[in-house]
């Protein structure tokens, strides 16, 4: 049943700015949440790309031993291929390694005489129990200076960064929710003060507290829905713009920013959360205020 509109709530100015404030809050919350989710997605992609793989780095030979390098690489590959748990070991071509360096040095800036190490990409078998320390020692014996990188440090740092950013984003969203609730409390209290006379008449002729509270709830819902949708639309436009700009940049240094269905769903939930917060806050504020009447 639609609530009655005995209170002229739409005629006072107390709620005039509420949709704009809610729009701003939902906009900021959307951006914070989107940032956290996109970083989390990128981190997960990096992690899944690196899990189950390792890299062997054979230092660039000096000029005197340049001719021995193919032999060294072959010996290393032989060790790797005979190690249980390794599915494949593939030495990256010189061009591919230069391709990996170019984002840092700039395209065409890699000097031909720059000592380039040989990189070997190792793919592990699934669930392989693997002693990386023993393998590293074995490789060091075959070719001194060879390093085995299992990406663990890098992955753990990325995860920590991703989790920290996620926690900060969630804190921001929660703070925005609290600010929205405080704003609704202020607007509702102003409405209660402005319409005190009408509320008293309704109270005296037998209106239950909830009868009056529903009218404030209905207005809070309407204002928060308008503001929430506006904030969501602005946030989506901003994100589309950002992902568009990011897509035009050289993507090798940047995480790929994509708006996943999960992100769309999370963003769509924010205006609904704003509506829920506004409605419940208005209801609780009115009920608490009216409980002080005789």
């Amino acid at each position: 049943m639609a609530p009655r509109r005995d209170l002229p709530l739409d005629r006072d100015g107390s709620g005039r700015f509420l949709p704009w404030l809610i729009a701003l809050m939902v906009y900021l919350a959307c951006l914070a949440l989107a940032g956290a989710i996109m970083l989390n997605d990128a981190s997960a992609r990096w992690q899944s790309g690196l899990t189950g793989s390792m890299t062997v780095q054979i230092p660039a030979p000096d000029t005197a031993s340049l001719s021995e390098q193919p032999t060294v690489v072959a010996a290393i590959l032989d060790v790797l291929k005979n190690t249980p748990g390794i599915r494949s070991a593939l030495a990256l071509s010189h061009d591919k390694v230069i391709d990996l360096i170019e984002p840092w040095l700039g395209q065409g800036n890699v000097a031909s005489d720059l000592p380039i190490p040989v990189l070997i990409d190792i793919q592990l078998e699934e669930n392989a129990a693997f002693d990386t320390v023993a393998l590293a020692i074995q490789l060091e014996q075959v070719a001194p200076g060879t390093r085995l990188d299992d990406h663990e440090i890098w992955i753990s740092r990325m995860l920590r960064l991703s989790q920290t950013v996620g926690a900060i984003a969630m804190s921001i969203v929660i703070l925005i929710g609290i600010a929205a609730a405080a704003t609704v409390v202020f607007v509702t209290r102003t409405g209660l003060a402005v319409h005190h006379g009408v509320i008293e008449v309704l109270h005296i002729i037998g209106a239950r507290d909830i009868y009056i509270a529903r009218q404030f709830q209905a207005r809070a819902l309407s204002l928060a829905l308008r503001g929430g949708l506006l904030g969501l639309i602005l946030a989506v436009l901003t994100l589309v713009l950002l992902t568009g700009i990011a897509g035009k940049l050289d993507g090798r240094l940047l995480p790929t920013l994509t708006i996943s269905p999960w992100l769309w769903g999370s963003l769509a939930a924010l205006p609904l959360a704003a509506v829920l917060i506004a409605t419940l806050t208005a209801r609780i504020t009115v009920i608490r205020a009216l409980s002080r009447l005789p």
Partner: protein, 258 residues
């Protein structure tokens, strides 16, 4: 119906505006409430319509102790009380029809019957052509009739009116009083606060007189040719009254309930 026992009322830390009020309104009784300005008439009415908590003493309404009743049940009690406020307290943003319909809608009456009953009552008080008019465009007399219609539309068990004839001429005032008497005849308990001694003299109903916060109850006996005398709810009479009146009177200071 309504019982006050040693009721006192003070606002904040101020002096008591009502002191040791003992009162029992029997069902179907009709009383005038009078007294000089500032005597506490409006405060007493507020206590009667549960618009205030007493500072001390007990109030019971419809056989329920107001102090101990569950707060959720108070709206149910209030719906059995019709109130005509001194300054009408109509909702200016609502039409005449919607103002009068408020008690029915709050009580959850079906919308179809609400409009029908309200239109009928407004026609009866001479405002049948003003259903969609808003209060600011009405005269004081018309506002008063709307306020009365709002108070009686829910067929209250107790009707409280604060100066209900204050804004109308004598003829209209008498008409309103006769409306209240008709409601009283069908069982509504009526209390009318008024300064108008002339109006009180025309009726033989008992008078509750407030002086400096103390309540005296004056019982009156109808003379031939006067409207009905309804002694219900008057306390035991005590002789002594010097108040000139068309009716014979006896007076009792906040005596025990009958």
């Amino acid at each position: 119906m309504l019982r006050f026992q040693n009721v006192g009322l003070r606002y904040g830390l101020g002096p008591e505006v009502l002191r040791d009020v003992n009162l029992h309104l029997a069902p179907g009784s009709f009383h005038f409430l009078t007294g000089p300005s500032g005597a506490g008439k409006s405060s007493l009415l507020k206590l009667m319509y549960l618009g205030l908590h007493p500072s001390r003493g007990n109030i019971s309404m419809f056989n329920q102790d107001v102090a101990t009743i569950d707060r959720a049940e108070l709206p149910g009690l209030r719906r059995r009380v019709g109130v005509v406020f001194q300054n009408f307290r109509l909702l200016d943003h609502l039409s005449t029809l919607d103002n009068v319909a408020l008690p029915l809608r709050i009580a959850g009456a079906k919308e179809g019957t609400v409009r029908e009953h309200v239109a009928e009552l407004l026609s009866w008080v001479g405002l049948g052509n003003h259903l969609d008019v808003h209060p600011p465009t009405l005269s004081d007399g018309e506002k008063q009739r709307v306020a009365i219609a709002r108070a009686v539309i829910g067929r209250p068990s107790l009707l409280l009116a604060d100066e209900p004839t204050g804004s109308v001429d004598l003829e209209q005032g008498l008409r309103i009083l006769h409306l209240f008497e008709q409601l009283n005849k069908i069982g509504t308990t009526v209390v009318i606060a008024t300064h108008d001694r002339g109006l009180i003299r025309r009726f033989s109903h008992p008078v509750l007189k407030l002086e400096r916060g103390k309540l005296k109850i004056r019982r009156r006996h109808a003379q031939p040719g006067h409207p009905q005398n309804n002694p219900g709810g008057t306390p035991e009479a005590a002789p002594d009254s010097s108040e000139p009146s068309a009716a014979n009177e006896t007076e009792d200071s906040h005596g025990p309930a009958s």
